[in-house]
């Protein structure tokens, strides 16, 4: 289907563009359209953010419930679909408590930093050939930089709360993200090496002939696994949820947060999960590219029936399911074990993997055809 869409667009003389590009094109001739496009994109992303939060929280509750031999929310709406809405209303109505002896401005600012960082990443993710807000030639770098920024919110939140448990959680979070960011970036670099571009759209298009997880000769799989582990740690989910560490630190960095501000942290955590899954599927699993097997034309045509956006969300939801599976199965690591895992195991693997990948790219050692077969 995406091929058909591409063909139609190519035939119409309009190559698929991001919304930002379309706005830029329209600006000289029709500023109103440009403004409408940008405004539409902003509203769209915010709506998407809200919907994503609702869906992911509901999914987490239901999936965890079924892992634990129970039903989960069942009362509000059919099968409890409206439970998250009810909870959001409850959180909105709650008193917003700021510790008297805490650093008040910082305490108020922290949740916005945390959520803001994730929203900015949502802008550059290619959801489908047609739905893509903005593309950058430094896409991967941008994503890494901005998502690392989210920890500022956690650090500030924990520090400004004037609570020892919260501070401990925040410090753990800082140490954890600084460490695991390296491994995650090393894993992403492998794909950048293969694709030869940092633009996320470029990376998706480079996987026309096969996803990098398979086509990159084992290094792809290794970097996918390293990325999955490192990013699970980056988004503070079990088994790496030590900044929250419910049974040790009561609630970690958000111990002193309540109401709307708590829900911002909560939302940021869930959106982060989506971002990680979206990046993993964009870089390793071909983004919106459908699943193709070599020259099996009939099979490929059946696969093409699902549009690009559908493929993207299918891949993303499988990875999200995997992350939830981790969360509801594993116990939590200790803080020094966490550091050992990163610095003594993941980091060396990441470096060796990058080295091998650069040799593969340098000597052009591909067994699969790399040429793109578009008309």
């Amino acid at each position: 289907m995406h091929e058909i869409a591409l063909r139609i667009l190519l035939a119409a003389g309009a190559p698929p563009k991001t919304i930002a590009e379309r706005a830029a094109d329209a600006l000289p001739s029709d500023p109103l359209l440009a403004a409408a496009l940008i405004g539409g994109a902003m509203i769209g992303v915010l709506t998407f953010l809200t919907l994503l939060g609702l869906v992911l929280i509901y999914a987490e509750r239901k999936i965890s419930a079924h892992f634990q031999c129970r039903l989960g929310p069942m009362r509000v709406g059919p099968h409890g679909i409206l439970q998250t809405v009810a909870d959001t209303v409850k959180l909105l109505c709650k008193e917003d408590i700021v510790p008297t002896r805490g650093d008040q401005p910082m305490h108020l600012l922290a949740p916005f930093l945390s959520l803001g960082a994730t929203v900015l990443v949502l802008l550059v993710i290619p959801y489908s050939p047609l739905l893509h807000v903005a593309d950058m030639n430094i896409g991967v770098l941008y994503v890494t930089a901005i998502s690392g920024f989210g920890v500022m919110g956690i650090l500030l939140g924990g520090w400004s709360s004037n609570n020892k448990w919260a501070l401990l959680g925040a410090m753990r979070s800082g140490a954890q993200i600084i460490s695991y960011e390296i491994s995650a970036t090393l894993a992403l670099l492998v794909v950048v090496l293969f694709a030869g571009t940092m633009s996320l759209r470029g990376i998706v298009e480079s996987q026309e002939a096969g996803w990098w997880i398979w086509r990159a000769h084992g290094v792809g799989i290794v970097s996918f696994i390293v990325y999955l582990i490192a990013s699970t740690a980056e988004i503070n989910r079990t088994p790496f949820d030590i900044p929250e560490g419910e049974s040790e630190l009561t609630a970690g960095f958000h111990a002193e947060y309540s109401g709307l501000r708590f829900s911002f942290f909560f939302l940021a955590e869930f959106i982060n999960m989506f971002v990680v899954a979206a990046l993993a599927s964009t870089l390793f699993l071909g983004g919106w590219m459908p699943f193709h097997i070599g020259r099996l034309a009939g099979f490929n045509q059946v696969m093409d029936l699902l549009p690009g956006g559908g493929w993207f969300f299918l891949k993303v939801s499988s990875i999200i399911f995997l992350l939830m599976w981790f969360r509801w199965t594993f116990p939590r690591l200790r803080v020094d074990q966490l550091m050992r895992l990163e610095w003594k195991i993941l980091l060396p693997i990441g470096f060796v993997n990058l080295l091998v990948a650069s040799f593969v790219v340098l000597y052009n050692f591909y067994p699969f055809p790399t040429e793109i077969t578009l008309p």
């Binding site: 199965t329 594993f330 074990q337």
Partner: protein
Amino acid sequence: MTVTIRKLDELLQPPAAAESGLNTQEYYVNMGPQHPISHGSLRFVARLDGETVKQVLPAPGYVHRGIEKMCEHLSYRQTIHLTDRMDYFSALMGNWAVSKTVEKAAGIEVSERAQYIRTIMAELQRVQSHVLWWAVLGMDLGAFTPFLYGFREREIISDIFEETIGARLTMNYVQPGGVMYDIYPDFAAKVKKVVAYLKPKIEEYDTLLSGNVILQERLRNIGVLSQEKALAFGCTGPVLRASGVPLDLRKVDPYGVYAKADFNVAIGSRGDSWDRYYVRIQEMRESLKIVEQLIDNIPEGAHTTTKPNVKVKLPEGVHYGQLETSRGILGVTIVSDGKEASPYRMHFRSPNYCNLWTITELAPGWRIADVIAILSSLDLVIPELDR
């Protein structure tokens, strides 16, 4: 003998400069009385250097209800219901400990049938208690799913208790001279069904949690309690057995009909948190084995030999009785003046209280997260500790 009473403030050393050489300082945190680790209300004062624990001091007493004092105004039959409220996960064994002491002191005969029922019920409760401990340990270590798995099995055992006894938690079932109510005719069939259901579940616990590499990393070689230390602290139950001392009153000084059952005492070798973990898992299997052996042989007869309203009087002197609850040896000391139908003084030897203080030895040097793991492996029930 002189006893020096020192306040908590005197026991806590002032925070010093950190050993790391960095320009930081040690600090104190209160774990509890409201903290997820104190399953109840127990306060720990911890001196930390960053994440590393330097000193931990328990400050119990938040659930002190004066149970021992209350007992002085109650008849022996009435004291039993207070023992339910101590270790509520071994309510039946608490009942039994008092009954056993009173029976021995007053020379009350207990029918064979009552002994069988007591033993089976106590072993079911031991399984129930360990299942709950396993569930909570999973939650303490960050895995939430075991918690609900554990509660699923606990419900099934509770159903058995509810049918016979009428209560699910504070049972008040065992009484001097027998048990309160007789069992139903289909009791044996139901218990057999439960045992058949539980056996594969315990294997499932192994596959879900015990085999997990993260859990093993979190428990192995953490908080090693040597045999000498365990004995010096007066530890009993799984905590002592994990350190390699095969002290189990069910074997050493059999009561009930344990002598008729064939079972092993699970002991550990290193005394670390993992041994304390696995000793309990093994105990669940052994308990089910005991129930399986006894359930078909319950003899006919009266379930109790005393009338409900009879007031027991004990001869003058000090009477002591003890038995193995799911957490260790619960000792009951009764001082009777020989005139009243209530004790002059009653004292309980709490297994949890002794086990609790090992944390002062085990925790220093480890991280905060390890304190949680060690405390969880000690399996404390706070209301029994404070009484």
